[in-house]
Amino acid sequence: MKKRFVFRFSPNTVKKPLMSYLVREFNIDVNIWNADISYGREGKLVVELEAEEKAIEDGLAYARSIGVNCSPLIKELQFNQERCINCGSCTSVCFYGALQINQESWELEYDPEQCVVCGLCIKACPLQLFSISREEE
């Protein structure tokens, strides 16, 4: 299976080479979509993991055991779709196809599975309907 996750590192765990460990010990293919170390040296990684379901579960369990927070990507970008006016401004900066205008109905379609949390839509939306989740699970 292939699935996207967000890993959050505290200042204590940010130095641990977690990704290489997941590759080596759990045989997981890792594709890094977005990486960021913020003020206070907290880190955030957006990754796509590809492996047997069991291997991914074990890998996530290991990450959690060393203090790294993991959550499915789907919850990461918050979108208040109810207030959306379907202008399409966000689609002009979404290069991964997560936000697309339906060519028939001209309504905005959001597919969280395609999102890499680049954050460009947050600035592009004139109604300010996007935000990054601050939840840690």
Binding site: I85, C87, G88, S89, S92, W106
Partner: protein
């Protein structure tokens, strides 16, 4: 040949034939202009885009003892008070003293939604208006008049924006990525009001329109009204040309068709829903309302450079497809105005006319035939 009076008679009798501009453009694929002129009475158009040159007049009612308001804010957004004692103008792009993402547009939307808004007013105090300070809460039911009066809306065509530079720029045309990675555009193409009557033969001062969910009027030609822009073979100006000033009762409007906006690192603006009915009086008008997206061209402008050079021409069919090709480069497109809302507006206006609730009007005066736009010179 038909007259507006004949069409109004049919509207009153409930048998006027009304289509949206998109429907007529599809019909024109198999019908001639003469057939369309014969069959169709009214074509409805629609647009829902950000239009900064908008605002609302408001009369708060007199306080006791009265105040001649000289400095006024609503929810800490400064509004214009250089009018009589309790008349003010809420400029859509005026920004809150404390939050640049909240402004006049949000006040207008909040008032339309029926919300309470905090009013602060100050004055020097006069013999006839002794009060110097008022702080209270108002909403659309506590005030006297509250009407939209927008100096420039409904642009006839608008240029496409790209950015050739190395860094992202943030504009009223949205986020423009470096190296021309994206392009933004802002009209509803074949559904857009002034693109369906390019010579403004039927739209003039006094024309009754759909404005913000209720009936409004064209009050004047819009600011920066320009009849000098180059036109394509179809007679369509290939960049921003004519504009309209519009007026309507904001108390009757709906937040479905009036929405506040904030553009990153630019400021506050407002989405305005406008729909204009076009009477199909003759074959020429039938031809005009049959215009298709592939026949409406617009210029691609580089917002990354100060003099904004034109890099090429594209049409609305290309823009809607999701990619355009400019100087050999494929560029991803996105709209700033909502086609989905524009369609709703054209449909709603169609329903009003079919139900006999909306009659067409004779313009009191036509728009200027010769109008160009001046720049601002440094003089002393």
């Amino acid at each position: 040949m038909k007259t507006i009076d004949q069409i109004n008679e049919k509207i009153r009798n409930g048998n006027a034939v009304v289509f949206t501009a998109e429907e007529v453009s599809r019909m024109a694929e198999t019908m001639t202009s003469a057939e369309i002129a014969e069959e169709v009475d009214v074509v409805t158009t629609g647009t829902f885009g950000p239009m900064c040159s908008s605002g609302a007049f408001i009369n708060f009612g007199h306080y006791n003892p009265p105040i001649r308001m000289e400095e006024v804010s609503l929810n800490d957004v400064p509004i214009f008070a250089g009018l009589a004692a309790v008349d003010s103008y809420i400029g859509a792009s005026s920004e809150s003293t404390f939050d640049e993402t909240y402004g006049g547009a949000h006040i207008i939307e909040d008032l339309i939604a029926g919300k309470d808004v905090k009013l602060k007013a100050r004055a020097k105090g006069t013999d006839c208006y002794p009060t110097k300070e008022v702080q209270t809460v108002i909403n659309k039911d506590t005030v006297n008049e509250f009407y939209l009066f927008n100096p420039r809306n409904a642009y006839q065509n608008y240029s496409v924006a790209v950015n050739s530079q190395k860094h992202s720029i943030y504009t009223y045309m949205g986020s423009l990525m470096p190296h021309m990675e994206n392009a933004t555009y802002s009209t509803s193409g074949e559904l857009s009001p002034l693109l369906n009557d390019p010579e403004l033969r039927t739209i003039g001062i006094g024309t009754r329109i759909f404005l913000g969910g209720t009936q409004g009027f064209v009050s004047w030609y819009g600011t920066q009204f320009n009849t000098q822009k180059p036109k394509n073979e179809q007679g369509i100006p290939t960049s921003n040309a004519a504009t309209l000033a519009v007026i309507g009762n904001a108390k009757e409007m709906s937040t479905e068709y009036i929405r506040a906006a904030y553009f990153e690192k630019y400021g506050v603006s407002i989405f305005i829903g406008i729909g204009i009915p076009i009477p199909v009086l003759d074959e020429d008008i039938a031809r005009a309302v049959s215009i298709r997206n592939c026949q409406i061209e617009t210029s691609v402008v580089d917002y990354g450079l100060e003099d904004k050079p034109v890099l090429g021409m594209v049409n609305y069919e290309d823009l809607r497809s999701g990619t355009i090709k400019v100087q050999g480069k494929e560029i991803k497109t996105g709209a700033m105005s909502s086609l989905e809302k524009a369609r709703k507006i054209a449909e709603e206006l169609k329903t009003w006319i079919k139900n006999g609730e909306f009659l067409l009007s004779h313009p009191v005066e036509m728009m200027p035939k010769n109008s160009s736009v001046k720049g601002l010179e440094q003089r002393s």
